[in-house]
């Protein structure tokens, strides 16, 4: 009788363990749209931060949900995904926001309009890059 109880207990543990393991393995990606931004900043400021001290800016912004406000310089579509470039005072650099597939349909954004987006900051090349971006307003 006792052995049977132990076996049943072990089986339950194994099932629960497998379930938790499976859940962890399939852990969903961060949903930018439903999360609130970690940092809110203007396109000018974030670019200035990166171009003056990239290492410090990396520790501050990488992997964070950043909400950026700026003026739209360019809207384009690449493989069905929208890319919005926000202009800055800098001649070379800008903030490039790659939109999520859901956000890429019915794009009504126009060049020159002021826009706020939030996305995950992945770093700085010539421009500050945000991925999985969604339009806030």
């Amino acid at each position: 009788m006792k052995i049977r109880k132990i076996i049943i207990l072990l089986l339950i543990l194994a099932v629960v363990g497998a379930f938790i393991g499976y859940k962890m393995y399939n852990k969903p990606h961060v949903n930018v749209a439903s999360e609130s931004a970690d940092i809110t900043i203007t396109a000018n400021k974030i670019l200035a931060n990166f171009s003056s001290d990239e290492t410090t800016a990396n520790t501050k912004y990488l992997d964070k949900i950043v909400q950026v406000k700026g003026v739209v310089a360019k809207v384009e579509k690449e493989n069905g995904k929208g890319i919005v470039t926000l202009e800055t005072n800098d001649d070379f650099g800008s903030v490039i926001c790659h939109l999520t597939p859901e956000q890429s349909t019915n794009l009504t954004i126009k060049e020159g309009q002021e826009l706020t987006l939030k996305g995950i900051c992945t770093g700085f090349l010539m421009d500050v890059i945000l991925v999985k971006s969604v339009i806030v307003n």
Binding site: M24, Y25, N26, K27, P28, H29, V30, E54, T55, N58, T59, L62, D63, E78, N79, K81, I83, I96, H98, T122, G123, F124, L125, M126, D127, I129, V131, K132
Partner: protein, 181 residues
């Protein structure tokens, strides 16, 4: 490291003599693929910066490691935290030249590219083949090659070593546009 890098890019940009010769893309694609008996892993980066000067064949590519997006969040986490340590090494770079750049034409041509690839803080010289075509204001470059994880000191824990290939297939697709001020 950052200053050196900025300086290199500046030098590179400054070394262009004729504006008509520079081609640039900020939205190049690099995909990597690991095939193993346990599972296939794929990650895609759509934000690759690549600059080519067709007058001398020089090329510079810069890649943000955190821009590689995986199907599973857990894989992406492991990739960044344990394998490539992207907080410590946020970028991968390639600096080199197209050996037979004078062959680039409007039709599809096979070319050879040689240079230094830096991933995870380790640099290795590679020579790869690529397909290219230059039409109007667009310079296309595509190709694929394999990299060995051991060359870049990327360690895979023994528990998951059957899940990840030792040799990773890297594919790239760049649509450079002519650089205008």
């Amino acid at each position: 490291m950052k200053t050196i890098y900025a300086l290199l890019i500046c030098l590179f940009l400054a070394s262009f003599t004729n504006a008509q010769d520079r081609y640039l893309t900020k939205k190049g694609t690099i995909t990597f693929f690991s095939e193993s008996p346990m599972e296939n892993i794929e990650a895609k980066n759509n934000q690759v910066l690549s600059i080519v000067d067709v007058s001398n064949g020089q090329m510079a590519i810069s890649i943000l490691m955190k821009s590689f997006l995986f199907e599973k969040a857990l894989m992406q986490e492991h990739f960044n935290e344990n394998y490539v340590e992207s907080d410590k090494y946020p970028k991968a770079t390639f600096k080199g030249s197209i050996l037979d750049f004078e062959n680039i034409s409007t039709s599809k041509t096979k070319i050879k590219v040689k240079g230094n690839l830096t991933i995870h803080g380790k640099t290795k010289e590679i020579t790869i083949e690529a397909m290219t075509a230059k039409k109007d204001d667009v310079l296309k470059m595509t190709g694929e090659f394999f990299i060995n994880l051991v060359d870049f000191d990327i360690e895979i824990p023994s528990v998951v070593k059957d899940n990840i290939a030792k040799s990773i297939k890297v594919s790239f697709n760049f649509n450079h546009e002519i650089y205008k001020k």
